[in-house]
Symmetry: C2
Subunit: 196 residues, 2 copies
């Protein structure tokens, strides 16, 4: 239709992950049609997010307001166990399981020689500087090449410091059928078998 | 993670069509992670859209700036044929075919007794007031109950005024296999068969 503001919004929307040109067009027309305060509400929420959310100075997860995040502040959590994750969103997933009650550390990525991600690009120095009193570091990283590389790299350093290093078990999901599981996961599940 | 600004953005994003809670969360985390001017660019594009785009006073499609839209202004298009569509986005689709060279009229909906959409809710008075010189009205509406109802309602009025009323053909898509076509479409394709 040759509307530059419509094309511009479609262009901006396609910068988001999983939003292709067709989805962006559908969203833009919906926004155009909306008669309520959708645009104002969206923009305010976007700006608020950018203004209010910062990285926690201890674990580098996201937090709002002054000082460390709610998990770093919580006096009831163990100071002996540190769970290392790739992204802040991983913490929410782990919290939803209700099993882990220690502290977190967000690397903001994993080592990837192919994509040029080196230890300096991650919060690794920050991790190594907060190991006082930590007895166990649990890696909750994906079981792919990058995750494995990161665990290997860090575990060498951590073991030298006398810290116990573990990683979450990879195996057949609860409710998953062996028929439908890929062979790498199944292989891992057999290697990591647990005595009954 | 208990971040109110993150939850707020996720809430706003789920108001958009096709965006569920999980997609909204993924988008929100992506936006949070983005280091460039994504938020500012998005907000500016959203505000620009709302400020600049208005309805064309003739066809009720969307346009920017003063006066009628580019199709209503175009002196090379026929003033004898009027194509009636449901939404402004339909015009772009029809233009992409390159076959129609007349004028457009956007109803901004279709009649739906079930959802309480009556003729007064649509741009029907506006359609009837611009029929001077029109020889043919082509309906490009969906072939569902609401589309059929709308065509039936309007064609009665238009035929009385001596205007030729047509609607776009519904049938097997080009490249579509008869095996995969639903029975209603196939039925329509047989009814509307064309002599070779």
């Amino acid at each position: 239709m040759g509307l530059s503001s419509l094309d511009q919004l479609i262009h901006e929307l396609t910068r988001l992950p999983g939003i292709g040109p067709r989805t962006a067009q559908r969203l833009a027309y919906y926004i155009l049609r909306s008669k309520d305060h959708l645009v104002d509400d969206l923009c305010e929420a976007l700006q608020q997010l950018k203004e209010q959310v910062r990285e926690c100075p201890e674990c580098f997860s996201y937090t709002e307001g002054e000082g460390p995040c709610m998990y770093c502040r919580d006096p009831l959590r163990s100071n002996f166990e540190l769970c290392v994750v790739e992204m802040p969103s991983d913490i929410e997933k782990i919290e939803s399981s209700g099993v882990f009650k220690g502290r977190y550390h967000v690397l903001h990525g994993v080592l990837s020689p192919l994509e040029g991600v080196t230890p300096k690009d991650l919060k690794i120095d920050e991790l190594l500087s907060r190991l006082d009193g930590i007895k166990e570091v649990i890696f909750a990283l994906d079981a792919d090449l990058e995750g494995d590389t990161t665990v290997l790299y860090l575990s060498k350093i951590l073991v030298q410091k006398g810290i116990k290093v573990t990683r979450i078990a990879h195996g057949v999901p609860i409710g998953g059928h062996i028929d439908y599981i890929d062979k790498r996961t199944l292989g891992r599940a057999i290697e990591n078998r647990v005595q009954v």
